[in-house]
Amino acid sequence: MLHRLSILPLLVQMFVKSQMEYRGAFWLDRLAQIVSYGAVLLTIWILLQKFQLLGGWNWPELALLFSFQLLAYAMGASVSFTQLRDLEELVRLGTIDTLLTKPINTWAYLIFSGLNIGYAGHIILAIPVLVWALIAAQVNWSVGTALFFVFSLLSATMVTGSVITMIGATALIWVRSNHLFSIFFGFWELTRYPLNIFPSGIQVVMLTVVPLAYISAVPVAVLLGKPVPLLGDFAAPVALLAGPVLVLIAIAHWRYALSRYQGAGG
């Protein structure tokens, strides 16, 4: 089994090599990403110049929320988003059939043969902002908080990858999945802000059916010692468990979707 894993770096290498066929476009894309996310961050900063606080969060705290979300999203989406968004196309054109006849896990092949290095732009922007915000915001650092920071970031990455995988996998059943991705990104934009500023209905949704609160608002609130709506004292363990639990659900869902695959025709 272990030596099978050695194929994965080769897949990544081949994908990167493919991308480098168009390296000019690649770097231009990254620049565009940094500028567009930078603009969002700037908007939050301008807002904070006027209002000082947003839901009880100050500028460094919101910058921490923004960069934590961007980093977790970039890491989770690099192992899921473009690959699963394109699954719809693979199903429609029947290309997925060629992957299903290979002696390799289809999800692993799909993910690693399309591992999106394009998220470099997000990461280049997120890391300096995150480092600055962790220093500027009032975090009570201890071994416990440091460990929580690392593992909640990992958990948030898993939440992102799992939710995207589940949405993408629906293409195997319904051929289309892009409408679900639109809903996903609708909620995803809300994760740049503290959970408590939203009406309770949205809070409930983001903690349950569309569990995106775990990619930013919940773990960052715990890190800053702020109250988390609805979860209260359970916020820390739930934030850590959300990722692994969703990964298991996503695996089960992927298998189910694959068993329901009917081909797109022919």
């Binding site: 060629t98 081909g263 022919g266």
Partner: protein
């Protein structure tokens, strides 16, 4: 001989959202949850032995690709049992994948932006092909299909014929026991088609690779596949040797005799005269057991016979006769 592939009463039905015609109908389609069942494959059974080359033939939508997808484990049959290499394909898809090769004529398995050889290397790793065997297979197949000149070229720069040759070579690098090909010659020019056909026939003959091939092109079957499975409207309508189909349909061979001087009317007992142009006479050989030598014997050596041409009924003709008779029979009953 044990069967490599066993199909017993295999069916595949697809549930399709019921569609209503027209603009209003489009809205109706959106809000109703009615389904219609479409049968792509109905109650099909056959055995395929090791080393056979089988052509799976039928018009568009007859369920050819669906059958291939069930045999390769991509789709789950709705009814019946299917066994490939002793395994149920959809339950042991990955185990089977190691021992089969699959080529989809319209779906590339090569990496579009990378040199052909890179896809081959990845294939070697995925299928754990030992270095020596890989090198040996690559060399042999590349020579046979003349791949060597473009192994280092990006796939996107290849012609369709070159790409298809590369696809076929890749599918054979791991020495599969069975090679499934779904429309392998579609869109190829005459030269490329010919190269692919000859190669497949040789692989089947010399390496004993079992070949299952779906096609529209009857010439593929003629060159590669002694056995023919024909489907129409999801059902099996013929399974047997191409030769037998010919014989069963009584498609006669046509014979043309050309003389240096008009020998006059020349009726024969071994063949039926169909038209007489004087110097050139056309006959039909209706009986399979009559050989050309017998006919020429009857003509005799003293008639000034200059040239002889024998036309086997081409497969298109045979199949056309078959479908016509079938439809006529269906109309009567």
């Amino acid at each position: 001989m044990t069967a490599l592939i066993e199909a017993r009463g295999v069916s595949k039905r697809f549930r399709q959202h019921k569609r209503f015609p027209g603009l209003l109908g489009a809205f109706q389609t959106l809000v109703t949850s009615e389904y219609t069942e479409v049968s792509a494959v109905s109650d099909i059974g056959f055995d395929i032995a090791a080393g056979e080359a089988v052509g799976y033939l039928g018009p568009n939508g007859a369920g050819k690709s669906t059958m291939i997808k069930m045999m390769t484990g991509i789709l789950v049959p709705s009814a019946g049992t299917l066994s490939v290499l002793g395994r149920t394909p959809h339950l042991e898809r990955m185990a089977n994948a190691r021992e089969i090769g699959v080529v989809f004529g319209q779906r590339s398995q090569l990496w579009w932006d990378l040199p052909v050889i890179d896809s081959f290397t990845l294939h070697q790793r995925i299928y754990d092909i030992p270095e020596a065997r890989y090198a040996d297979n690559l060399k042999r197949f590349s020579t046979l299909l003349d791949l060597t000149p473009f192994l280092d070229r990006a796939v996107r720069q290849l012609s369709l014929g070159q790409r298809m040759r590369a696809e076929i070579v890749m599918s054979l690098l791991h020495d599969p026991k069975i090679l499934f090909l779904d429309e392998p010659t579609i869109g190829l020019d005459v030269v490329a088609k010919d190269a692919v056909r000859k190669f497949l026939a040789e692989i089947n003959r010399e390496r004993g690779v079992t070949i299952i091939l779906t096609t529209h092109d009857l010439q593929d079957i003629e060159t590669i596949c002694p056995r023919l499975i024909m489907v129409d409207h999801s059902r099996l309508i013929f399974d047997g040797e191409l030769r037998r189909l010919r014989a069963a349909l009584g498609s006669a061979r046509r014979l043309t005799l050309e003389f240096s001087a008009d020998p006059g009317p020349l009726p024969l007992s071994t063949a039926t005269l169909t038209s007489d142009e004087g110097l050139r006479k056309h006959y039909l050989l209706e009986r399979e057991d009559v050989s050309l030598v017998q006919v020429l014997g009857e003509v005799g050596g003293d008639r000034g016979l200059k040239d002889v041409a024998l036309h086997e009924p081409d497969i298109e003709e045979v199949i056309r006769t078959f479908y016509q008779r079938r439809n006529a029979a269906a109309a009567v009953s």
